[in-house]
Point group: C2
Chain length 356, copies 2
Amino acid sequence: MISYYFKRAYDIIGSSFISINCVQRRLLLRAIDFQKLGRQYKATVEKQLASLTRHDEPETIYKPIRHVLSAGGKRFRSALVLLSCEAVGGKARDALGAAAAIELFHNFTLVHDDVMDHADMRRGLPTVHKRWNTNVAILAGDELAALAYRALLKSRTQRLQEVIHVFTEAFNQVCEGQALDQEFEGQTDIYLNDYLRMIGKKTGCLIVAALHIGALMGNATKREVATLCTYGEHLGRAFQIMDDLLDIIGDEREFGKTIGGDIREGKKTYMLIKALERAKGKDRLLLHLITAHHKATTAMVNRVRDIYHRYGIIDDAKREIARSTRRAQRALTPLKTSHAKDMLFWLSDQLLERTT
Amino acid sequence: MISYYFKRAYDIIGSSFISINCVQRRLLLRAIDFQKLGRQYKATVEKQLASLTRHDEPETIYKPIRHVLSAGGKRFRSALVLLSCEAVGGKARDALGAAAAIELFHNFTLVHDDVMDHADMRRGLPTVHKRWNTNVAILAGDELAALAYRALLKSRTQRLQEVIHVFTEAFNQVCEGQALDQEFEGQTDIYLNDYLRMIGKKTGCLIVAALHIGALMGNATKREVATLCTYGEHLGRAFQIMDDLLDIIGDEREFGKTIGGDIREGKKTYMLIKALERAKGKDRLLLHLITAHHKATTAMVNRVRDIYHRYGIIDDAKREIARSTRRAQRALTPLKTSHAKDMLFWLSDQLLERTT
């Protein structure tokens, strides 16, 4: 995401540097600053991850782990840890262990979720259970969770127990969220509130935990913690609905996953729930069929995409993402002005246009 | 195990109370004391486990978790936590959270291992992936690990960070051990040292961690920690070799698992490694066949059992268990005399005759 926006900002500056006004120019230069810092953070986290996973054996654990991590990813959650720490006056370097922990933990959930969701591709590479097998994926996932705690324990803070507590609660919630996601697959009577509760646990919780932990690392006040957690809640919602959206309107090469995977698995996405509320006749029948049988063909995926467009659901999703993003940004207001606060604001903006 | 030995002690006392001498009688009454305390510990740990897992939803997580825990089990590892704490002067009740954590973690490994080892039965009940499916087993396992950390954080101790560190290192080691176990399955060039390294990680490590954590809860000195860890290392070895042995000479109903499961999976057990060293001709061929193809029939399992008997490998295994148990008991010497120390001594003795 970061390099994509860097390129985008550069394209604009390169092509129309003379015609844009001063304010626009300042904002663009600021964006370039953020891109640069984002790249620095990413590089430092990558180094941490490499050092935590460089063991030679057992190679059926560490090879797949390095395979997963080598696929890159935005390292968005670890950036949140570092920025949250800085936004309350802490030093990003003190939160590096925690940032790596959040990233390792996130990858643990991806490896296990991919098994459960029968996903073949992740970030443009074959998933662990496809490249190796299910046993390897189970164990590599387990080890990623173990490594996450190991990384967390390397953090330099007086509030390590609080940090471990927040991390552990997120661990519990994320598992529960994934279980709800699986349970919802075969059901047609799932409503928006159920969906929001599910994504709050499955996706939102780790994003909130990243910000909470970052804040603790920076020795935040209770109010600062609450502020950053509220930002995280809205951001998490925007992030997950965007993820749902990219599954249907994304570019397979950029997204790195098979498009329509959610429809094939009968996943309850923001769009499917809205569509089940609104669709009539044959459209409704198709949606029920997909929910009950999980055997959508490419033609069916295309028909569902068409339904989403016809009933205005794609636009609805985009509006909901924009609304949640604005709420996230507003939530930041009580924080003291800082470069990190501005970057958190900017980061949430990027979400509106992310493609991966 | 505990009720079995209680019954056994009672049988002896009941039938020959008059004919046994005073020392024997004192030892037997002591054993009954230990049984009673063991039952009390078990009941307290069960209560903790029930309170930690009584959530209603998502039921695809908590139902399988309660299914696993309802099957009972010896709660041997949690007893080690409590006894270790008491053996260094601590109060068992302060270590209850940690005892539950070790038990939850152990059950996490069982649920995932059963998927990987295609095991149908555990403690006389169908395994989670058999009763539900693989997805449920992966998630229920993950949640058990999360609950384990939650339980650990409830412990009352000034040394919680040390405790979490030991627990996390065990988490890492156990995953590595299980990976080695899986890797060894297809290989014929595995020797005793490889096996001992593997079981040290897969089984020994959690037993050592239970004792280490118990000791920390009791605010042990470095020397006391080292003493209890050494006891744990030997005990862990005896325990795993006994487990290997029960897979081939155990009673299916008592053992609660399908007999010969290790042979069917081509597992490198103490006996298989010894047999691969010694067997000649057709016997050797059969062992290689089993190692390479993992498709042993019941007739083949019986032939392997016969090989183990003919080459004296069953006796060897028993001798190795007895030797490791004696070493474990000798390791306890530096500890101050206490009821808990005596019970640790006694517990390791029970291993020699365990059937489950």
